[in-house]
């Protein structure tokens, strides 16, 4: 191979699309979301490019949630089975919450399961297992895992969740502080907000704003000034290092 002709054809943080040639030559390596074709590296999904040394990979911008073990998500009860509940988790596959993982208490055989979770209830759960065929098991036993009461549910793009949460939860705590709302962001994009009605609306708008501008920089400042305007209060941000 001609090592002299290695060429990078894109920049870091570019939006790349399927079939786009990212680099030429054997000096670069294909990572997630890319593949090698002869001496070229080509993107195979819509995403944001990140260059790590010689490795080119893309972060997805669209698509359904892919269940991952230990993720904390919010699901909606869509069916009640003999042995548990079926949850819609905003993915291609439903999740199953088995009886033994639903509560710390004992559920007698033949008990009325709607007493614990009713259809259309929203539940914060943790994924315990994902099989090769994408059968998803979840649990409701653990810290912060519970049924949701009151508040409102909004759905956001699952790939923007890291941005909404921010570095070490900085973004979400900024919103919490400004609005006084309780917020739970599931990794699958389902988000629960509870607080004063006006503040809930402000929160929803702030989250939508982050979702729309997730691929841009300087977002924290924009969100901060929006929140200050909407709530009419100054927010003091302590930057923890």
């Amino acid at each position: 191979m001609n090592m002299g002709n290695d060429k990078l054809l894109v920049k870091d943080k570019d939006v790349v699309v399927p079939g786009e040639v990212l680099a030429q030559g054997m000096n670069y390596l294909p990572g997630q979301g890319t593949y090698r074709y002869n001496d070229k590296i080509i993107a195979n999904r819509l995403g944001l490019l990140t260059i790590e040394g010689k490795v080119l990979k893309t972060m997805p911008l669209a698509g359904r949630y892919l269940p991952k073990k230990n993720d904390i998500i919010i699901g909606r009860v869509i069916d009640i089975l003999i042995s548990g509940w079926k949850l819609d988790i905003n993915s291609a596959y439903p999740a199953v919450l088995p009886l033994k993982d639903a509560t710390f208490g004992y559920i007698a055989k033949g008990a009325d399961l709607t007493k614990y979770f009713e259809l259309d209830d929203y539940v914060v759960v943790k994924i315990t297992n994902v099989t090769s065929q994408n059968l998803v098991d979840v649990t409701c036993k653990g810290q912060g895992l519970h049924k949701l009461k009151g508040g409102r549910i909004i759905k956001v793009n699952t790939h923007k969740v890291p941005r909404i949460i921010g570095k070490k939860g900085s973004m979400v705590s900024l919103i919490k502080k400004a609005t006084g709302c309780k917020i739970i962001v599931g990794q699958n994009g389902t988000t629960w907000i509870s607080g004063e009605p006006e503040m809930e609306v402000v929160t929803v708008n702030a989250i939508k704003m982050i979702e729309e501008q997730a691929h841009k920089s300087g977002l924290t400042d924009k969100v901060k000034s929006y929140l200050e305007k909407a709530t009419g209060k100054k927010i003091e941000v302590r930057i923890k290092e």
């Binding site: 074709y37 080509i42 195979n44 291609a92």
Partner: protein, 234 residues
Amino acid sequence: MESRYNKRLDGRGFEETRPIIARAGVINKADGSAMFRIGRTTAYAAVYGPRELHPKHLQDPKKGVLRCNYNMMPFSAEERVRPGPSRRSREISMVTEKALLPVVNLEDYPNAVVDVFIELIETDAGSRCAGICAASIALADAGIIMKDMVAAVSTGVIDHRIVIDLDGEEEHLADLDVADIPIAMIPSTEEITLLQMDGKASKEELFRAIEMVKPVLKRIAEVQRKALKEKYKG
């Protein structure tokens, strides 16, 4: 061989397509969507999924299933199109699916389905090709893993002259022999994923047509990619 078709009816060059407009993300409810307009043929495509596939016997435990649906709106053509599936629309749905299948990778989604709905609101020849172009943008917009886009355009042979992107008028020329050859291709590998022919053309003419359409399809693929990038700009 001498051709009697020396000037196109609308004054285009022989290798020139009609004006193309492409946009991604036009339908909010869908997981991915696109609009593709070539001349007076407009296709909208919406992608839903991957999601659970019902009825269950259609599920494939090894990989996800791609399901395409081509539909012409009742008002899309000169004469009213009867709503609902027809022999023609089922055939086009099937060839569209086969044209797109070689690029999509659904191995991560066993037992699931990706649904593609293609709606034609305005047709003036080349509707299946417009549908494939729109569907391919919509699939990418939905975040499906695909090794490349699929670009398609209809090619024609009018009295031994090879012509790119026939319009309705050319397709219905009465006094000359017209062959309509819709072609879809994966630009990076130049694999042909759709090739149909309606009308008479010689073997040599068909081969020449395929060679001539390749650069055109690569240009169309660029338009498709630009549409996707446009969605995330500014």
